[in-house]
């Protein structure tokens, strides 16, 4: 059904969406890390953390992700998700 409220809702300009998508894709194009290197980083991190904590080895995830800086810009970050077992 036609929603009059949705009709008046201000949509972002498509060119802004294009610009943001481009910034993200260019960053991920540029920060592509050799999967082998990423795997080595993962092993090293697991070794360090598991000295101190009991972690779920199979559920550890490490990836390069874009992070917004809150001003329309982006940078990339190494994001690790390391579940702890109790």
């Amino acid at each position: 059904m036609f929603n009059i409220f949705k009709f008046f809702e201000k949509k972002p300009a498509s060119k802004d969406i294009a610009r943001d998508r481009l910034k993200l894709v260019l960053m991920s194009d540029k920060t592509r890390i050799d999967p082998k290197v990423l795997e080595e980083i993962k092993t090293d991190i697991i070794n360090v953390i598991s000295k101190h904590l009991n972690i779920d080895l199979d559920a550890v995830e490490i990836e390069i992700s874009p992070v917004g800086d809150g001003h329309g810009g982006f940078s990339s970050a190494l994001v690790a998700s390391i579940p702890i077992k109790f």
Binding site: A13, S14, K15, A18, L22, K23, D29, K30
Partner: protein, 262 residues
Amino acid sequence: MSEVIVITSGKGGVGKTTTSANLGTGLVIEGKKVALVDTDIGLRNLDVVMGLENRIVYDLVDVVEGTCKINQALIKDKRYSGLYLLPAAQTRDKMAVSEEQMKVVIAELREQFDYVIVDCPAGIEHGFKNAIAAADSAIVVTIPEVSAVRDADRIIGLLSAHGITEPKLIINRIRPEMVKRGDMMSIEDTLDILGIPLLGIIPEDENIIRSSNLGEPIVTSGFKAGMAYRNIVKRIMGQEIPFMNIEDDLGFFNKLKKLFKK
């Protein structure tokens, strides 16, 4: 002193060949002697855009293989004194020419011409590497669309890796009315993303298609894309020409509206 400029983009269909034809012709109108080199082996098109397709006898591969001398392969454009085209081969594999051979051919052209304009094939492989092998500088052509800008960014990175560190940008097919309503990335948006200096903007102009139908470069006409190319030609020659205000294209009614908004 001669200058070898490669026209490149990564993505196909954004206007490399049209730009090569118009900048070459424009430089000749300004009194320079210019060689246009089509390096798109197997998919040559600079010949048809220039309207010289019926005059090809020898091509780039013939020159490289020693079948003919370079001056036998160069087609003299009878309309514009000082303009020559070295066509690509149409029925050969692109591996028929190596980077080293390309450097030899370009070195020979340097001795005879003020400018050598190299029309690069789409892509980033063998043909691209050949086209940029002997270039002094590069012009990157893009259009304000995500796929084209992404490829342009990749090309800028590859050019830099090959020692061409200061490419200049042409933004082609800008549609002022779409930019105005926020449905097309503006010049500023595109420059912000690509981070290289702007050489020129070409507004979308249906006369470009007419001119390629006729095999007559638009740079010689009074159409807005022709004027835009003439401005770029002058900038290449070192003149300071202000950038076209694309809002001038918006027409009388829109200008009136803008006036009342102030």
